[in-house]
Structures are given as structure tokens and as C-alpha cells.
């Protein structure tokens, strides 16, 4: 889906960087699905993703939209999404509400039931392994490993030094990989969920 400003979500850092400012509507057209997916991968409950996505783009509007600079629209929006998701998580905990892993209900284009089941299990494992990371590390891990952003792009978007991106990614990988390994070893338990 392309927006008028040419900022159709590429899903990776290799796409062209828009050379014109993008308002909230153009950003939404181009990147709403990216933001929704990113929020899910940050751990937001699926039932909240649409509302949180709205919040992200309202903040984007309040900030005056995206302007050409070192940060890509995706990583610029990701920084807002991290803040919105973090606040949402704090609010949810305060109200003693039960959060679920939004990643579980993402969908794929998998065709057969068997493949769909495998994909669901994969998502459950990734979701739970991501759950071992705090939001700051999870954001870097998701942007790099799943969304395909570059470390420079992540640094520019989140407003942190690229060295911090590397260190967070390194730590996140170590923790994620260990958790995933444990989860692979207990597939039966996963099948009881959901």
C-alpha cells in the first residue's frame, strides 16, 4: 500500500527514503499495518492494537508529522509506538487487567491447516520469548530481526546511539535465543495454551 508521499511501508530499511514531509494521514496509509504489527510484537493485546495504533498516529499528528531526516518513517513511528505501548502496559498493570500476547493472533498467508498450526506455534514461541525482554530491548530486537530495519535506522528513529542499538541487540539476542531454546523443548505445554 503506497501513500501519496511515497512512503509505502517497505518493511525493511532498503527502501527509498521519502524526500517530502508526511502528515499523519499519509503516514497512516503507508504504515498503519507496520505500527499495528510492531505494537503486537511489543506485547500489546490484540484487542488494544487498533486503539493504540490510533494513539501512535495522533501523537505523530501532534508532533507535526514526519519530516525528512535521519530517521525513516517506520523507525520514527516505532519510537512513538514504544512510548504508547509502554504507557499502555503500565496502565494495564495498574488496573490488574489480564494482558495477552498480541502476537498470537497475527495471521499469515499460510494455506493449509497444518502449516497454519505450525505458524501459530512459531508465533507463540516467538511471542513468549519476546516476553522475556523488557520493552527497550524488545523494540530493538523486533525492529532489527523481524521488521528488517538497519541498526543506523533504529538508532535514528529511537534517538539513541547506534552503539546502544548494538548492545541492546546483543543482549536481546542472547536472552531471546535462550528462552526460545527452552520453549522448543516444551512444545506440549505450548499446545495447551489457547
Amino acid at each position: 500500500m503506497k501513500d501519496p508521499g511515497g512512503a509505502g511501508h517497505e518493511g525493511a530499511s532498503g527502501g527509498p527514503l521519502p524526500d517530502v514531509p508526511l502528515d499523519a494521514a499519509a503516514l497512516y496509509r503507508g504504515h498503519a499495518r507496520f505500527v499495528a504489527g510492531f505494537l503486537s510484537r511489543l506485547g500489546s493485546a490484540q484487542e488494544d492494537v487498533a486503539d493504540l495504533t490510533q494513539e501512535v498516529f495522533l501523537v505523530a499528528h501532534r508532533r507535526g508529522g514526519w519530516r525528512p531526516g535521519p530517521a525513516r518513517p517506520t523507525t520514527w513511528l516505532a519510537e512513538i509506538a514504544v512510548r504508547v505501548a509502554s504507557q499502555s502496559r503500565r496502565t494495564v498493570r495498574r488496573r490488574h487487567e489480564v494482558a495477552d500476547d498480541g502476537l498470537d493472533r497475527q495471521t499469515s498467508s499460510t494455506a493449509t491447516p497444518a502449516e497454519a498450526a505450525e505458524t501459530t506455534e512459531a508465533m507463540e514461541r516467538v511471542s513468549r520469548a519476546l516476553g522475556t525482554l523488557d520493552v527497550a530491548h524488545r523494540a530493538v530486537f523486533v525492529l532489527f530481526e523481524i521488521e528488517g530495519e538497519s541498526c543506523d535506522g533504529i538508532a535514528a528513529g529511537l534517538g539513541i546511539p547506534v552503539g546502544t542499538v548494538y548492545s541492546r541487540l546483543h543482549a536481546a539476542r542472547r536472552k531471546f535465543t535462550a528462552a526460545h531454546e527452552r520453549l522448543v523443548a516444551v512444545p506440549a505445554a505450548l499446545r495447551e495454551v489457547g
Binding site: M1, V56, V59, H61, R63, Q106, L133, D134, F144, A179
Partner: protein
Amino acid sequence: MSGDPTRLRDDPGAPDALRSDLAAVAGATTPLDVDAGLARLQGAIGTLPAAGTALGKAALLWGGGAGLAGVAILGVVVGVMRATTPEEAASPRPRAARVERTEAKAMPAAPEPAAVPEAEPAAEPRPRPRTTSADRDDRIAREIAGVADARSALASDPARALSLARQGDRDFPGGILRPERAAIAVLALDGLGRTSESRAAAERYLQRWPRGPFAERIRRIVDSSEGEGAVRP
């Protein structure tokens, strides 16, 4: 970037299960009704200026208990206020000073996977209106126009704003801007001095949309009325 490490899903040295799981997630999409969301966003933005001054003026007007003009502006911007974190809304400090930029400022930790078998009931996503016919755009446009009219009326004629909001609920029972109309109704009742009704409407709003786009501001109205016996601070 060439200096970046190889992504795990592309790294032959990573476990096969890890690579395949990450690839599966990377290829997945999150359900989202983009058209409805865009319409809702545009409705929420309305005629709001992109940033800064109008928002600040609205916040000042509200905080000072100014008249209906403040209420009207707030009606437009309240969604944006809700969209920020409470720290942003409440604190006069510059935004940049609050952006998470260091490792030392820890984010909330997530549960360890040791609790893998935890069986949380999977709540179904809230149903969202879905139409595919050509009149959908027109319907959304009419719904947005109705909300815009109601917002405009808040300043000069809260009774009309209330009437328009309620008419919108009747005309668009499954509409995407129900939270916006409900918030306008709360503000209109407040503007009319019908404080008990305003509070009741606010409480209904919070029951229905506890994390809706205006929930934080509506919650303040309820809290304020609890503390001072009046809806308006």
C-alpha cells in the same frame, strides 16, 4: 547497513527452529481495518492544527476552568491529549527530556517463559464494523461530518452539540466514531451545567471504552467531580 550483524533468520549458524520461527513471524500480518482506522484518525484530527500552540491553548483553557470556547477546543484535541503519555500531558518539561534514551531508564519487564503453560483465556477481538459496499465511504464521510458539526457546536451551543451527538448515535449505531460522540456528549452536558448527567455519561464512557481515545480526560472529569462535587475543575 553493511556493518550490521546478520539477522538471526538468515544466519546459518542459528538454530533451525529459531530461524524458521522468526521467518514465520516476519511474514505474518496483524489484522487491522486500515480504511476504518484512517477514517477514525481523520475524524479525531478534524480541524486540529498539527502541533503545539492550539493544543497548549486548549490545555490552558481547560485547566483554568475557562468557558465553552475551551471546552470546544478540548473536544477536538482531547484525543490527541489522550494519545500522549500522562507524563507528557501533565508535565511542563520538554518532551525530549522525557524520551527514553538510556539503558538506565528501565522499561517494564515481561514474564519469563518458565511460566509457559499459563493458560490465559483468549478474548475475541472487539467486533468492528465492516462493510464492503460503495456506500461505505459516504457513510463514513457523513458520520465524520456529524461529529465535526457537533464539535463545532460545543463552543456556542452545547445543547445542539449534545443533540447532534445523540442523533449521530441513532444514525450510525455501529459507527466508528461512537467514542468521539460519547465524549462530546460528556463535554456538552458539562457545558450545560448538567453535572450529574455529565458524570453519569462519563462513567458510562469509561465502562465501555476504558482505554478509549478520550478515556484519560474523561477519567479526570470523573475524578474531579468526585473530589469537588462538580464536573469541571
